[in-house]
Structure formats: structure tokens, C-alpha cells
Symmetry: C2
Subunit: 412 residues, 2 copies
């Protein structure tokens, strides 16, 4: 068992233990938010045919060369084609066909004159300006060509991709199975929602936070509840959970004290313990083990430490397990918007919010940074990565951060 | 009926027609991703009691003042308190109580000496260094105080908030009802997934894209399928949809041509048409109407125009309808990563991806920008806002953009 690993080494150890999940074809809408398990290749051109992007008249550019307001060109209207129907005629010199937006262009068409730019008298239109060759024409395959890879294995199926696949007539999509994540809270001090508060007890929050994060990620939480600090009971609950889950997360019982039962429970289970403790603050006492090829990760029972280390270490692992290509966090540099008074003997992660200050990327700490402050996770979308041996941080200091959240609410 | 409105005016017209939805209390986990309908006020301190953040020994700072490696201070261990249990003794000079992480501190405690920093012999420990007053003590209410507003009406319930609420013992959360969005595609050219391709026809993609976007937003899509370009049929389908939906979105049939049936259908319905056309490209032909107090928005049938205008104009409206406080997009400035050759007579929105170039925010166009290219929406997370009357854009030109997506996959 290794101890006190650097974060990146712990991450690598976990990522190397992963095998990709099974995949299956699911109906298009069920694929939303899931991960593509194969490249999607188009069997069609998109658009399927040369089409008009406007309401107007299909014509030949060469017919319009001499058109001028004082000397309009007259073209004979052969027929009218709504979207969804096909012309009976070809376009030849001196003729035109009225086409609605989205209609397939008659053979020979190389321009479309916009509806509002012609004058119509009976079966004739007048054109007042010359058109560029191919003006207002969308050619077959302009968006996607037959045989083109439109979406690569490992990407998340987004609303735009759903639309693109629908437009290609693809009703079923190959995606990976979602990962099932066992979640168990341990600790004699924990009571459950709905129970009355008693002296020395606290409401368990970790199981809800982790359940919610799993749902956000598209993983399937398997909820194992709360269990007392008793190695046999903890072992029994993990054993039960491993029957249903692909990976197992516990919180609590991984520290140095006499009541830290996860190691003992893992020994009862006969699991192989692969490391204990990661060299970061907060959340250092992380335990990783393997039983029957399935990873078991023990996180701190402290709510901030549990969520922070889940985000830092477990989320990339779950993303990789679900088949996602981009499973690691992006790192960005920015300036501290305010100061941070403590020195950092160990590598420390600060909860912060990315914002822009005069166009520069800045990180604003989200409230007090001690271990109990789950509130500080609420608006957090970056973790500022403070290297071991750093002194206090001053406003304007350039630091690096892991990007977690989204910037929909970025301050302008 | 107003015509050719600036985007912001059209947005304001829609936002002013909105009333907030009903709210109700739902079980905590059901609140994930929904919008808080009331401020949440804590009925407890968090932590509930003064607690130990480490495994160690509760003591008095004044007892440790003279401690040194050569002259350790000896304290008598009165008892041992696991997390979840309460001490029988107070701390007085010369005494200590062993406390596990999370345990409530005995009365009088003002420091906790870490487990690994003492030596224990029988019922005594030796302390080798003086401790600062309040060192390793977490006080009741340090994260949240009784009566404090922990989360404000109008915010999205995030995993961290779920955890915070659980920790306060809150089992039910007041949230707004999700908005029901009717979705209808119109056009003779549309065929449905599973149908065989025929000349001049295309697979409808808009209904799937908009359904997926609604699901992503936490709205409830009410799917009304596809209907031919016939005003009576379109009117009947909208009438049917309005019975179930709070707001209605159509695609197709809003342009200038003879087959553009949405206006006619709205007249059949007796809806009040409030504007037609927004002064942007792509997606200009947008129609907005009201029937029985419910908004009906007709978007272009072009897949890119439909999704872009849904994102630009409809999403902020839906967010406000769902009770979200931050419903408008953030705007940020950045540099064009590449060029864009066309001039923009009208105000134009370009699909792009936010990335960092040498620490600066840059916008990379996501493929070709013509109307048929739904592919360009796939990696798009910003819309670059090109003012009317702009010439071609060069790499490095500073532009403004609306931020849509997330930066989880931001390039470092």
C-alpha cells in the first residue's frame, strides 16, 4: 500500500484500473447526455439535395448578367415548388421556377433570386440586378458529406448532436452504459433526514451531495444509506453494494483515529488496498482499494473534503469509466481577486469562482475556506491549486486553477 | 404588430409577458436542478456544536504555554469521545479528553492537540509545543448561523446546496414548478425518424433539438410532432398543445413566402400577434403571439436558425418563467481566433467556441457559418455578436460574445 501520494499519481493509479463499460444502441432521445461508444458516420449528404435557403426564383446566373433597374431581365415562370416537392422542369435560359425555402432546386439552377427582389407579372418575373454564380444556393453535402464522421466516440451527446443525428435519419445511437456508483456514509454521529436531532449527532449530508453529483454526471447512484462505525457492518454493506455497483464510494472512517473503520472493513472484505492518503489539503485521508476488479474509494467524512476530493479525484475516474474522452479537468491561470492569509505547507485547493476583472480571468474565493464550510462549495466553479510551501496569497497574484463548473453566470 | 425589432427589444417584450409559476415543496433530491421559490433560512447553527476537526485531545491553550520538547506538559486523560457522543466531563487545568474527528468538544475546551503530536502513557499525554488559543477548534455556527439565509430564491439547486440543506436537516425544499413547453414542427417537406427518405423530403431535426434543449434546462417538453403546411391543421395542433403547455414553440412557416402558415394559423386561433421578425442573422423571421395569456413563439424552420434563436431569445424567457434570477446571458469580450470573410450588413451571430490563447479569451468559429450547418452548433459555447455594418473580421479583432455553454472542456 502506497501512502501520501501526489494527487496526479493517485489519479493515474485509479485511471489505470479502469475498463470501458458495455455499450448498446438506444433510441435517439435516450442518448441525450450519454457518451457515444462509436464514431457516427453519415450515410447521407446533409442537405440531401441542392436546396434553396430563401423564398425566390431558381434561375441561371448567366441570364442575369445584364440585368439593371433600367433594363430588367424577364424570365418565364414554369412552375412553383414548395418545400417537400420536386420540380418537373429543368432550368434553361430564359426560364425560372418559383421555389420556397427548403425546396429542392430544379436541375440546372445555379442561382436563386430572392422573392422580394423581383417583380412578377402573370407568368413572368423581372430581375433588376445581376447575381453571382451560386448565389442563394445551398449544395447537397454542404453541412455533412456521405461517409463523413459527424461525431466521435467518447463525446457527450448534446442537444445539437441530437438534432444533427435526427436530420440524418438516425433513430438509434450507440452509447456506453451508465456507471453504477455505490454510495455509503459511515459514522456513529450521523442521523438521517426526518430523524430528531440529538446531542453530538449531525445530519448526514455526504450521501445527498454525492448522489446529486452522480446524477449531474449521468452516472447511476446506488444508495446504501448510513452505517455505524463497525467494521463488520461496514464490510457487509459494501459487499451488498458491490453486487449492484461498478464502483463504490464511502465517506468517513479513513483518518488516523481509533474509530476509522474503512481500512478494517476492507480487510474483512479481503479487498486489496492500493493507496492511503493523497498529499493535498483538504481531504488528504483518501483510501483506494480493489475488490473483484471493482474500485472502492474511501473519502473523508468532512462534507467539504468529501465533495472536493470527489470532484478532484473521483469525477475524472467516473467520466473515464463512462467512456468520456475528455475526462480530465482543464487548468487555467488567473489572478487572485482577493487575498488568502494562510501559508500552505501542503498543496492546498481553495474553492473559488471564476470571473472577469477588466477582461482578465480572476478567482474570487467563495467564503471561508476551512473544512466545515460546505457553503463555500455552492458558487464554486474552480479549485485554485496552491503549491506546497506557498506563503499567503495577495490580490493580483497569478495562480493556477482546475475548472469545474460552467460560466453561464460569469460576471461580465 | 411590430416588425424587425432589435434583439433586446424583442427579448424585453417577451420577458414582460411572463408571470412566475406556482411553487411547491418537494423532497430534497427531487429539487436537484430546480429553482428555489423562497429564501432558505437555517433553523440551526452549522456545525450544531463546537467540534473537533481532527483526531486529538481537547485541552486549554493556557496549559500549553510553557510546553517544549525538552519540557513537555502532562495532562490527565479523563475520557474518550467518538464522533456522535457527548463528554461527561468539562476541561479544567491539567486535564484533557480524547476526541475523534467530528466529536463535540467538552465544555471549556479552547484547543485540540493533534493525535500525532502527543505521546501517551497510560492515562496521561505529553504535549511538546504551545498551542494558539482556538487552534483546531471549529465553533458552532462557523459555516451557517441560526437565521442566516443560506440560499436565495431564484437560484438553481446544485449538488453542494443539496448537501448543505441535508446537513441542516431540511427534507423538503420549496421550488417552482417546471415550465411545460409545447413543441411543434411544421412543413410539407418533413418526414419522421423511421420513415423512408423520399425525393424533396428531409428528416425533421428541430423537434428533437428543442426537446433536448428543454430537458437540459429542466423544462418539460410537450411533444406535438410534425404537421403539414395547412393553417387549419397547424391551428388545431397548437390549440391542442396549449391545453397542456405553458408556452408554445413552433418551427417553420414564419418566412415571407406563400406557404408560411404560422401567421395564418395564429389568426385562425384568434391569437394576438405581438411581433414579427427580429433584426438579426440568422433566424430573423421570428413570430411572437399570445393566446389566452400564453406565449407562442414561431421560429425559423432552418435547423441552425431555430436552435440559435431558441438559445438567444427563448432560453432566457424559459429561465425567467421557471423562476431563475439570472436568466440573461453573460457577455464577454475576446479576440477572434481566426478570420470571418463576410461583411455583416445586419447584426450577425457567429457560432464559436471560447478558448484561451496565451491566457487571453479567444473565440474560434465552429466550422462554416451558413444556415444549413447544424454541425457548427455542436461545439459551440458562445455566440459572437457582430454589429450591423461590420466589415470582414480579422484574427485578433476584439469582439463581444454571449456565453451559452460550459467551460469544462476549455483548452488550457
Amino acid at each position: 500500500m502506497k501512502q501520501n501520494l501526489p494527487l496526479e499519481e493517485a489519479q493515474a493509479v485509479l485511471l489505470n484500473r479502469i475498463t470501458l463499460p458495455e455499450d448498446s444502441k438506444v433510441p435517439l432521445m435516450d442518448a441525450l447526455g450519454r457518451i457515444l461508444s462509436r464514431d457516427v458516420v453519415s450515410r447521407h449528404n446533409i442537405p440531401f439535395f441542392d436546396r434553396s435557403p430563401v423564398d425566390g426564383y431558381a434561375a441561371l446566373a448567366s441570364d442575369t448578367v445584364d440585368a439593371a433597374p433600367s433594363q430588367p431581365v424577364r424570365l418565364k415562370v414554369l412552375e412553383e415548388i414548395p418545400a417537400g416537392y420536386v420540380a418537373a422542369n429543368k432550368i434553361t435560359s430564359g426560364t425560372t421556377v418559383k421555389v420556397m425555402t427548403g425546396a429542392p432546386l430544379p436541375e440546372g439552377t445555379d442561382v436563386v433570386v430572392k422573392y422580394e427582389e423581383v417583380e412578377r407579372q402573370g407568368n413572368y418575373i423581372s430581375v433588376f440586378e445581376p447575381l453571382r454564380y451560386q448565389e442563394n444556393v445551398v449544395y447537397a453535402g454542404e453541412d455533412v458529406k456521405v461517409g463523413e464522421v459527424v461525431a466521435k466516440q467518447g463525446i457527450v451527446v448534446s442537444p445539437a448532436l441530437v438534432g444533427l443525428l435526427a436530420g440524418m435519419g438516425i433513430a438509434e445511437v450507440p452509447v456506453y452504459q451508465p456507471v453504477k456508483v455505490g454510495i455509503l456514509s459511515t459514522g456513529d454521529e450521523l442521523i438521517s433526514l426526518g430523524e430528531a436531532l440529538q446531542p453530538g449527532k449531525i445530519y448526514d449530508s455526504n450521501r445527498y451531495t454525492l448522489q446529486a453529483r452522480c446524477l449531474d454526471l449521468g452516472a447511476q447512484p446506488v444508495m446504501l444509506g448510513t452505517v455505524m462505525d463497525c467494521k463488520e457492518k461496514v464490510a457487509a454493506r459494501i459487499r451488498e453494494g458491490l453486487k449492484q455497483a461498478d464502483v463504490f464510494i464511502t465517506t468517513g472512517g479513513v483518518s488516523v483515529g481509533d474509530y476509522d473503520v474503512i481500512q478494517d472493513a476492507l480487510r474483512v472484505l479481503g479487498a486489496e488496498i492500493i493507496f492511503w492518503k493523497v498529499d493535498i489539503k483538504p481531504g488528504s485521508p483518501i483510501l483506494a482499494a480493489v475488490k473483484d476488479g471493482k474500485l472502492i474509494i474511501g473519502l473523508s467524512g468532512n462534507p467539504v473534503a468529501a465533495l472536493l476530493t470527489f470532484d478532484l479525484l473521483v469525477v475524472p475516474m467516473l467520466k473515464k469509466m463512462m467512456g468520456q474522452k475528455n475526462y480530465l479537468y482543464s487548468k487555467i491561470q488567473g489572478k487572485m481577486a482577493g487575498g488568502f492569509k494562510k501559508s500552505s505547507e501542503k498543496r492546498r485547493f481553495l474553492r473559488a469562482r471564476l470571473l472577469l476583472q477588466d477582461g482578465d480571468i480572476a478567482f474570487q474565493l467563495t467564503g471561508i475556506q476551512n473544512n466545515s464550510a460546505l457553503k463555500s462549495m455552492m458558487e464554486c466553479n474552480v479549485f485554485v491549486d496552491v503549491p506546497a510551501g506557498s506563503g499567503p496569497l495577495n490580490p493580483g497574484d497569478v495562480v493556477s486553477a482546475h475548472v469545474l463548473g460552467n460560466i453561464n453566470s460569469l460576471d461580465a
